[in-house]
Amino acid sequence: MRPFNVTGAFQPQRAYSPATAGEAAPARNRVRLLAIGVFLVLLLLAGRAVQLAFSGDPLAEPRAPNGASVLPRGDIVDRNGVLLATTVRAYALTATPARVWDAPAIADQLRRVFPDLDRAATIRRLGDTSRRLVYLRRGLTPEQRTRVHELGLAGIGFETEHHRDYPQGTLAAHALGFTDVDQNALSGVERGLDADIRAAGAEGRAVRLSIDVRMQYALEEELSAAARAAGATGGAAILLDGRTGETLALASWPAFNPNEAGAAPSNARRDRVAGDLHELGSTIKPFTVAMALQEQVTRSGELFDLTTPYVIDNSTIIDHERVEGMSTLGDILAHSSNVGAARLAVRLGGARQRSYLDRLGLTAPASLELGRNQAPLAPQARTRRDVAGLGFGYGLAATPAALAGAYTVFTNSGARVTPTLRAAGPDAAVERASVFSPEVTRQVLLYMRQVVTDGTGRAADVPGLLVAGKTGTAEKLDGAAGYDDSRNFSSFAGVFPANDPRYVIVLALDDTGEGAAGGAVAAPAVARTLRRIAPMLGLRVEARSPAR
């Protein structure tokens, strides 16, 4: 301030005095405080600069480690990397009711693009002004979005969302399963491996299954053809690599398209391989023979008289076709003798039989990575009649998947491996649970080969491939009326090649008619399937059957 007063007269500056020094002290303190404040602010800024320099961008979008954007669900691929399920971009058709003036007109316009759109419901939603935004339809394709956009409707908009797509259509539909519009898993592998598929989406990787689409297609085609020809109401088939437990193909009939799962009847959506229970019938007989040999209640050279029915606990067990003369263990399987199997089972006893059934995995649900593995109906055998019935496949209801798992004992020298839908690496450790000795397994394999060369399973023979197996024809229960011989569960379970068994196949047709035995309807379908699949497995098949 200049040293003049308001009148312009000079005013001398006040001389320094201790009093003025006392007044200046608070001012200096304020300056110091200000300086400290400025220093702190600068320190703060410097600290933030250092933090920004050394940390990532906190506002950056989350991305997978490989740079791909995060998806709610990862891709599912087959063992060769063929895409089975993926997540693609889709659109939700939305409306802002407050901006909609003529709801009926807009509904009519939208029905030109979506003819199945419910007009009344759409008008109701468009008029619901209590809500800021309403969804009219989900999962629109880019083309549908463009068509709606071109209508230029006021109050109608879109939201970007994810949509699960199954590019193979009906192929492996039951194995893959499906999700709802919000990507929640509902069935199949989608549900069984839900956590892994979600993690794969976040990490930008794919989930690899053990399925091979080429084999899957061949199995589905042949199962479908066989089921139609036999007039069956359903069908199931599974092909395993019996050494590793990997499922190479898994088919249920009738089929459905998971891209339109909502439109498919529940009967078609049902997985019958791990989800349907059936009394297995004669496909269980090779185990009865193996149990008897293992427990030394019989020997390979023993001869049986199967010409007379077997009476036990006031019940009579008979064979469909009488087996003449003295029969070997091989004949019991080749002719599928209920009498022979029942006798062996009774010799074995209920406790030992149950122990083997447990170890074969037939009294527990299969462990395939699917949404549902149906638990078997396996009550304890209380009477000798129950034990005899179990010997030829009655009194125990299990899934085809469980049966295939049990047949892996014939591909692992008597040890069982657990079926899986996950692709295993070449060096992956495989857990094997020993059930039978290698000698017993080899012996029973010879008998199963006899079934295909000279027995009920001749139609399953594929020249050059050496198929060994067993047919099964179980009469279906008809409520209180008991077993109905006009309704059968017809099946074939086998392994190949018999000289070095590695693969397991089970094919079953449900509700086939009278006379449609497993050897007549399931065994030929297995042969047709194997003719197609064998070259994919590197196995040689002869073009024509050699002259006998």
Partner: protein
């Protein structure tokens, strides 16, 4: 230079530093937000292309599906997988394929 002058000088320097820092911070922030917007734009573009790529992969898988290949084989070659005719020699397959379209000669 007296002590008071020195303090004054330091204060002026501090003020200048603060102003420079403030301007620098403003510029850094505006540059950062510009860069951020650019990064977001690029990320959006990447996501757009990834989505398009996923759709294309799905379409390829659909076209290469065994059912589609079988249909094409039946329609164009007259063979069905699994049948005896599937073992046609390569020359035969080439013969059965539709003739390639002739390229037009350039006009002179």
């Amino acid at each position: 230079m007296g002590k008071a002058q020195l303090i004054r000088m330091l204060q002026i320097i501090a003020a200048v530093v603060i102003v420079v820092l403030a301007v620098g911070l403003y510029r850094a922030k505006s540059d950062a937000s510009r860069t951020q917007a650019h990064v977001r734009e690029l990320q959006g573009e990447i996501e757009e292309r990834e989505a398009a790529l996923r759709e294309l992969r799905a379409e390829i898988a659909e076209r290469e599906s065994p059912a589609n290949v079988e249909k094409l084989a039946q329609d164009r070659l007259g063979v069905a997988p699994g049948s005896a005719s599937a073992t046609l020699p390569e020359s035969e397959i080439a013969r059965r394929l539709p003739a390639p379209e002739r390229s037009r000669e350039p006009r002179t």
